[in-house]
């Protein structure tokens, strides 16, 4: 019996060998830049396509790919087609690590572009930087992507949560002077960084309640009751879309209707109103989602989705309708096409024969401009993305911007207006370099 069992152990080990050997890939040339051939550039990304973080975010992979497919179909960059391979990490950091290593070690991608999530992506930043792989435009507003000394290959893209918090805090201070304010925030880096920005502006004596929520726990009645009991006139939401919706529905039940100010992360009107209708339906009632978020204040850093007079919106809508008509044209699609454009622009500036270092240099040189309402902060000393945003209000289910765009930094610097006009999209949608 025992002998037979041990023979089996040996057989098992041999089987492991055979299977593992079967999945090993062949040799590769050492000198060429990984992921770059005469007519292609291959890049990779990890995105939750399934699981709790998938709603909305799962659209980013197909949307970025649609933009790259459009560029490739129209001549590509320096004659090279851009191929994006996005993999499903289900928002599980262990998956993110394995899949990112697969993209770098096995698929030999040129760069990682637009990988999504703070808890997931923080676990691969060290690996990517020690492997000298450009790690561009992490889809998260964590301030942690901006560490050019420790992580020279990592770049953020969207305005970080502190910058956004400062802009919203500045708005609350100026427009709701003397009103009581409450915070409803996600209890992690996202919520904490956001509050750091808010607290620089909102008068602390007026902050009557701070209520955290844990993502995953959908019962927020206790927090909303506490905020309602504090009789706050304004509630600032540092929350993802699902919790913007949950806060609204729970406060409705209590007959509590404060003015809502929300971080851009949780304020996309299409996503939030869809969620509102879904949640209400599950609870057995029907609501009109867009009516419930009427008047919601947020900060936007990209043009409005329905403003077709804007050259960028027109370009992205055209690509959307041609390549991914089955995906709703919402903030996530706009977001992904925008970072895809920024990558295309950086690649064009990296020259005829792009290298990994050349790509990083092109970004650090600065001067990139695209669909954003405000400029990037990229330089040798800063790998932070957009410098700010523009206050916007939801009116009739649409995001309507107000005033001029605002810019600021992570520190104590003031929030100042940015008056330069947004550049026009190139006629064919492809950056010249």
């Amino acid at each position: 019996m025992t002998v037979r069992r041990h023979v089996s152990v040996a057989v098992a080990l041999t089987a492991t060998v055979a299977l593992a050997a079967a999945c090993a890939s062949g040799g590769d040339s050492a000198d060429a830049t990984p992921g770059v051939t005469a007519d292609t550039v291959t890049i990779g990304s990890t995105i939750p396509l399934t699981g709790t973080a998938a709603p909305g975010y799962s659209e980013q992979g197909p949307a970025a790919k649609a933009f790259f497919d459009y560029v490739s179909a129209n001549g590509g960059i320096n004659g090279r087609k851009i191929q994006l391979k996005y993999l499903d990490d289900a928002y599980n950091p262990a998956q993110t690590v394995t899949l990112t290593k697969q993209l770098v070690l096995q698929d030999k991608v040129f760069a990682i572009v637009g990988s999504l999530g703070t808890p997931t992506h923080t676990k691969v930043v060290d690996f990517l930087n020690s492997s000298r792989v450009p790690d561009l435009f992490v889809a998260s507003g964590c301030t942690c992507w901006d560490q050019p000394k420790a992580h020279p290959y990592t770049f953020g893209w969207q305005p970080d949560y502190t910058v956004e918090g400062k802009i919203l805090g500045d708005y609350v201070k100026k427009n709701f002077a003397g009103k009581k304010v409450a915070y409803f925030y996600q209890d992690d880096d996202f919520g904490h960084d956001g509050m750091k920005g808010l607290d620089k502006y909102v008068d602390q004596s007026l902050v009557v309640s701070r209520q955290p929520y844990q993502p995953g726990n959908t019962d927020v009645a206790a927090q909303v009751s506490a905020i309602a009991a504090s009789k706050a006139d304004v509630v600032v939401l540092e929350a993802i879309p699902a919790y913007t919706a949950l806060f609204k529905l729970t406060s409705l039940k209590l007959g509590y209707t404060p003015t809502l100010v929300a971080s851009s992360v949780g304020a996309d009107p299409i996503t939030v109103s869809g969620l509102l209708e879904n949640f209400a339906k599950q609870a057995g009632s029907s609501v009109k989602g867009q009516d419930l978020i009427e008047g919601l204040v947020t900060s936007a850093y990209l043009p409005a989705l329905d403003d077709t007079s804007n050259s960028w919106t027109a370009l992205f809508k055209k690509i959307h309708d041609q390549y991914i008509p089955n995906v709703p044209f919402d903030g996530n699609v706009y977001y992904a096409m925008s970072y895809a454009y920024t990558f295309t622009q950086a690649l064009a500036r990296a020259g005829q024969n792009p290298t990994r270092q050349g790509l990083v240099d092109a970004l650090q040189k600065g001067g990139l401009a695209g669909p954003g309402l405000v400029p990037f902060r990229y330089s040798a000393d800063s790998h932070a993305g957009f410098t700010g945003g523009q206050i916007a209000m939801v009116k009739g289910g649409k995001q309507v911007s107000a005033g001029t765009p605002l810019v600021t930094g992570d520190g104590d610097g003031a929030v100042t207006p940015y008056t330069q006009a947004q550049p026009q999209a190139p006629a064919n949608g492809i950056p010249a370099g």
Partner: protein
């Protein structure tokens, strides 16, 4: 003369399980060495993942297959091992071997504690209790008092040591990690196979078959169950420590219920109660999702279908394996061995007649 000389080692081989186990262990290490040196970096990462999954599965298969207790929550012990390693390595900077030993001890201690409850619970009640453990324990990391130590929802980043310089400057990290995990797997299989053929192993089987009969024949049923739970959790803890080093993290999002269920899947698909089965099972649950995802990617399907295809394929393969080998892959290997044996059995019998 020659027959006599060769008979002595053969007799030793037959009589001493320790010698047999040691020989197979050394052979296993040699095989692992050649495998890892012939593979590229990513395949070495997968090899390391197979090894730590096999360690956790081996512990689980001893628990369920030998002592008849079920655990749907072994992922929780893996999580505890991972956090122990992360904390010892990052905050205290202990040497690696000591850190892994720490994970074994903490995992085992928690296992004994859970084992005390488990010894009082049967069937669905035990399944429910361990399920609750898998769901609840990882969220402890977000508890306010522990947040500074365990990193909250974002978890901890584990910076694993680079390979020793004596191996050369460009020695791949993944191969080094595969070596560490491989060594731990061989040690685990060695210890557990000795355990299975020891008195405790016999007691476990007795308890599994009939608790009353076991108690009548002088076996302390509850103690056997608690010890088994502790041992099983200790190896899950070791697997967790290796998990933290290989994936450079310990974070609540990594220890989902799916992890616990995939360990159970590995044990069942491989063949419940068999250590070799634990290895087969680990190979399948580690490599299959990767292959199915690659297949789905190549097929160029619409997103809604594409995203779910890997899960569907994974499920399909598991169903097929269970239908074809109801007793797990190991039962298939045994059947195959039995088919081959009559053809070979002629020669050993002749030898026996000669001596």
């Amino acid at each position: 003369m020659t027959a006599l000389a060769s008979a002595a080692p053969l007799r030793l081989w037959r009589q001493s399980t320790l010698v047999r186990h040691l020989t197979w262990s050394v052979l296993g290490l040699v095989v692992l060495y050649f495998v890892s040196t012939s593979l590229d970096a990513f395949a070495n990462l997968q090899l390391a993942q197979i090894c730590y999954t096999a360690i956790a599965t081996a512990g689980l298969t001893v628990l369920s297959g030998l002592s008849g207790q079920i655990s749907l929550g072994h992922g929780a012990f893996v999580a505890v091992g991972a956090y122990t390693t992360a904390v010892l390595l990052e905050h205290l900077q202990w040497p690696l071997a000591l850190v892994l030993l720490g994970s074994v001890v903490v995992g085992g201690a928690l296992g004994c504690l859970v084992g005390v409850a488990a010894a009082r619970l049967r069937g669905p009640y035990l399944a429910g209790a361990t399920l609750a453990l898998a769901v609840g324990l990882p969220s402890l990391a977000d508890y306010h008092g522990l947040r500074d130590l365990l990193g909250g929802a974002n978890g901890l980043i584990v910076t694993s040591e680079p390979p020793p310089l004596s191996l050369g400057e460009s020695f791949p990290l993944e191969r080094w990690q595969a070596w560490i995990c491989g060594l731990c797997l061989v040690i685990t299989l060695f210890l557990l196979s000795n355990l299975a053929s020891s008195r405790l192993g016999r007691d476990m089987r007795l308890v599994r078959e009939d608790e009353q009969a076991a108690a009548l024949s002088g076996v302390h049923v509850a103690r056997t169950q608690i010890v088994t739970f502790g041992i099983s959790a200790a190896f899950a803890g070791l697997a967790g420590g290796l998990f933290a080093i290989v994936n450079s993290l310990a974070a609540p999002g990594a220890f989902t219920l799916a992890l616990s269920l995939s360990l159970l899947t590995a044990a069942v698909v491989g063949g419940l109660g068999s250590l070799a089965g634990a290895v087969y099972g680990a190979v399948i649950v580690t490599l299959l999702p990767n292959w199915t995802a690659d297949l789905a990617q190549r097929a160029n399907l619409p997103r809604a279908i594409y995203a779910n295809i890997p899960l569907v394929l994974y499920g399909l393969v598991l169903i097929v394996v269970i239908v074809v080998f109801p007793g797990g892959i190991q039962s298939g290997v045994r059947k195959l061995g039995a088919l081959l044996r009559p053809a070979r059995s002629g020669r050993p019998q002749e030898n026996r007649q000669e001596t």
